[in-house]
């Protein structure tokens, strides 16, 4: 029989967002318990493993060779006709960075949380929520198959794309079809890729998403695809499109797949509400993934730090109310919301472009030395060469 537990702050899910929340809640004096349904933190990996790097300092993560596999110089965006333009650190600073070992990265963040004083329970899943009046006061859980209860002053849902905590708490986390991608990735070996770049292939090769190549050392690469649910007609669309793309690219077709990774990714506008009495949600569970890039680690960690600080404060003051959690609700919006919304609009626009338009946009950027990769500069380059295409972008202006 597992004993029921009591804590100040309960974090459900030990991904990056959960570990950051746990770490900062513990650092700020709260008694913290983080539960993870898997038997190993970070494994199996469910991620393309590309990550920007400019935000790491802000949340106190020190880059380490333990989890950095490759440091890239930039990204290349390929049109359907496979012309490309390059985004490098100079032109787009914050969007380029590392290809990481996500299992090692997640473990490091969990170690940081533990070192800050958080307790961690593995093979422990939340099976329901505990409420007192209207307020969330913990979860029903199962550890090694045995049911028990965890009572907490503050409960954090950091339980990823398939998040339950937010839904149990009645938070509006449901997504529209156009705001979700179905994703599949092969980790391949013996492929011909350029470790200086993360590559992205746009257009009808991946309707409403893109094909990505995130290179890793020693001839390995993560080759994956996201396809927008609203554009899917047949089952297994992600696999069908990815296999087709690989078959058409000899440098990848000759490779061997050593791992298959699937998953859902939200490409949604910011949620209206991420807090309720006794509960906050963070990271992928709060749909904080960047809707344009599909990247979720940075936003999850940035919000996690804030979430942990506010959770500790609320637990210690005995005020785990929705009103008190406004410090988190407003704080993460101040840091992330504008960009999330802008990139969601950009995603909506990109999803509507034809291959012919993609080709013209990328062609127009050939040979143009963009000082800074801004929407304005891109539009100017396109207008100079293909004035008729610019009309499609007027909404951006």
């Amino acid at each position: 029989m597992v004993k029921d537990l009591t804590t100040d702050v309960l974090v459900v899910g030990a991904g990056p967002s959960g570990s950051m929340t746990a770490k900062f809640a513990a650092k700020n004096g709260a008694k913290v318990l983080m539960i993870e349904k898997r038997q190993e933190i970070g494994s199996p990996v469910r991620c393309g493993e590309g990550m920007s790097k400019d935000w790491l300092k802000e949340v106190g993560i020190a880059p380490s060779p333990r989890w950095i596999n490759v440091e890239v110089e930039g990204a290349r965006i390929f049109s359907p006709s496979e012309q490309c333009f390059e985004i490098n650190e100079k032109s787009a600073g914050n969007e380029v960075g590392y290809v990481v070992e996500r299992d090692a990265f997640d473990k490091q963040l969990a170690i940081d949380a533990a070192n800050a004083g958080a307790e961690i329970l593995l093979k422990t899943s939340a099976t329901g929520i505990l409420k007192d009046g209207g307020r969330v006061v913990g979860v029903r859980a199962k550890a090694f198959g045995e049911p028990f209860e965890i009572r907490a002053k503050v409960t954090i849902g950091a339980d990823g794309f398939e998040s339950q905590v937010g839904r149990w708490a009645g938070l509006p986390t449901n997504l529209a079809l156009r705001d979700m991608d179905s994703c599949l990735q092969y980790r391949m070996t013996d492929v011909e890729c350029d470790t200086r770049y993360c590559d992205f292939y746009l257009g009808s090769v991946a309707p409403g998403g893109y094909v990505w190549i995130f290179p890793k050392a020693d001839g390995l690469a993560n080759v994956g695809i996201g396809v927008q649910l609203s554009q899917i007609k047949e089952p297994a669309a992600a696999r069908t499109y990815l296999d087709k793309w690989i078959a058409a690219h000899p440098g990848y077709a000759k490779g061997k797949t050593i791992d298959v990774v699937g998953g859902g990714v939200s490409i949604a506008p910011p949620l209206k509400q991420t807090t309720a009495d006794g509960v906050m949600i963070v990271g992928d569970a709060a749909r904080m993934i960047d809707p344009l890039t599909g990247g979720g680690i940075a936003n999850g960690c940035l919000a996690g730090k804030l979430c942990g600080e506010v959770a500790a404060d609320a637990a210690l003051k005995g005020t785990p109310t929705k009103e008190f959690f406004q410090a988190y609700e407003k704080g993460w919006r101040l840091r992330l919301e504008e960009k999330l919304y802008r990139n969601w609009l950009a995603k909506e626009k990109l999803c509507s472009l034809s291959d012919a338009t993609f080709n013209k946009v990328v062609d127009a950027l050939q040979g143009v030395k963009l000082q800074k990769l801004t929407v304005h500069n891109i539009l100017k380059a396109v207008r100079d060469k293909y004035p008729e295409v610019t009309k499609e972008f007027e909404a951006f202006l």
Binding site: L177, M180, R239, G262, G263
Partner: protein, 63 residues
């Protein structure tokens, strides 16, 4: 159940990669992932087929 199509989730591992995409997209939260087993609540499911679209490997069928 009368009038409802039949939904089948292949989660024995032949197709399913246990990624949880179906769980995350279900608007009624009636699909459950238990590490190596996926189940759904027959009574709640409306056969909206969003999970069929979301499954990257085609492990969910409706007929």
């Amino acid at each position: 159940m009368a009038g409802k199509k039949s939904l089948h989730i292949e989660s024995s591992g032949q197709l399913c990669v246990y990624c949880g995409a179906c769980v995350g997209v279900c608007p009624l939260n009636c699909i459950f992932l238990d590490e190596t087993r996926i189940t759904f609540d027959e009574r709640i499911c409306t056969r909206c087929e969003i999970c069929v679209k979301a499954c990257p490997v085609g492990a969910i069928e409706i007929d």
